[in-house]
Subunit: 221 residues, 2 copies
């Protein structure tokens, strides 16, 4: 094992320990945590804006807005009515890791939240390797990106529980096929759930909201 | 300096050495090398397809098609008439580095090329840190991605010489403003050149072709 691989392994193992500790905290406080991942510009912040506007009176939502630079996303989420928004600027790093998220969590009263979104850096590669203690990764893909992306960035789609296909208002403007993107994604991850949305027209958002509410409902025994 | 930083520095320094050696080779053989970077799905392969179709009879073009997985892009470029196309699958890595490119260059007769495109992995963060010996990085951004991307991923726009704003056929379908994306990019890099294209309608492609031809022209003394 060369030095680089050894160091990467030790970084990941340290990350896994921190992520496990975070996951225990989230479970203890019954907070559902979703790690939102995508290419830059697929619409993570827009989806969160719509979610806040629709659900913030019935669900206590917190948001950690990760970015390489700028607090633009955090500012947009505050404007959309977010009361619990924490910017997390990586200062150049290509992904969030559990240590960075921990620095934010130190100032968060988890008892006051039902649902916590962690908006990752826009990057379809690196964030797939870093567990943040989330219940699930949700991967967004925009119809403007091409329907072969699940095949080209398989780790991200393999490690996600839900794929949101966003910008359906642009369908027909390119060769993107909804059936192909679903087939490609499920060839990587047969259990992947799929929801199609347009944050611009509002199409499909009710399905996303219902999905979130189901995730938050106590399990009936 | 902790172990991680030390290893990263040594990796970059090794990369810089290899990139410098590659750059010398390219100069010796008078090959113009462009490192194409963007988010996933911004249109790097489409732009290269159009470029091959238009210029391959007058310019000897080589293409190294980098991807995390699949040789889809290389296959598309072969179909578009590329005679010198080399797939470069990183097998999970989030960027190309000079060592990977070197493994391809070992089998390339640079004397038979005027222009070599290296199509990087779709990722607006990590590829910015790795010199491949190119003359210039060309960053693509799609109008579907949002006009604040230069501010959120500044390193990539700072280190590029040209920004191609692609998918102009989608202008008006979102809040994307051409003026804002140019202002944002030039606030990071005042010398950045800008070309707007639509690979779908063909708009602006002649400007891109003319830019390439100018780059390939011998300097008049």
């Amino acid at each position: 094992m060369n030095e680089r691989i050894r160091v990467e392994k030790s970084i990941l193992s340290e990350n896994d320990k921190l992520a496990s500790a975070a996951r225990r905290q989230f479970l203890d406080r019954s907070v559902v945590v979703l790690n939102l991942v995508s290419s830059p510009g697929a619409g993570k912040t827009s989806l969160l804006e719509k979610t806040l506007q629709a659900l913030r009176t019935e669900i206590r939502i917190g948001l950690i807005a990760g970015d390489v630079q700028t607090e633009n996303d955090a500012e947009r989420l505050l404007k959309a009515g977010g009361e619990s928004v924490w910017p997390l600027v990586t200062g150049g790093a290509c992904h969030l890791d559990a240590r960075m998220v921990n620095t934010v969590l130190d100032g968060v009263d988890l008892g006051k939240l039902d649902l916590l979104f962690i908006e990752n850096v826009g990057n379809l590669v690196c964030p797939s390797s870093f567990d943040l203690g989330e219940l699930m990764k949700v991967v967004l893909i925009s119809t403007a990106e091409g329907d072969d992306k699940p095949l080209k960035y398989p780790a991200m789609f393999r490690r996600s529980g839900l794929m949101v296909v966003n910008k359906t208002d642009l369908l027909g403007m390119s060769d993107f096929s909804m059936q192909r993107v679903i087939d490609n994604a499920r060839s990587i991850n047969p259990d992947l759930e799929v929801i199609a949305t347009s944050c611009r027209t509002g199409a499909g958002l009710e399905v996303w909201f219902a999905w979130l509410k189901r995730l938050l409902s106590p399990v009936e025994l």
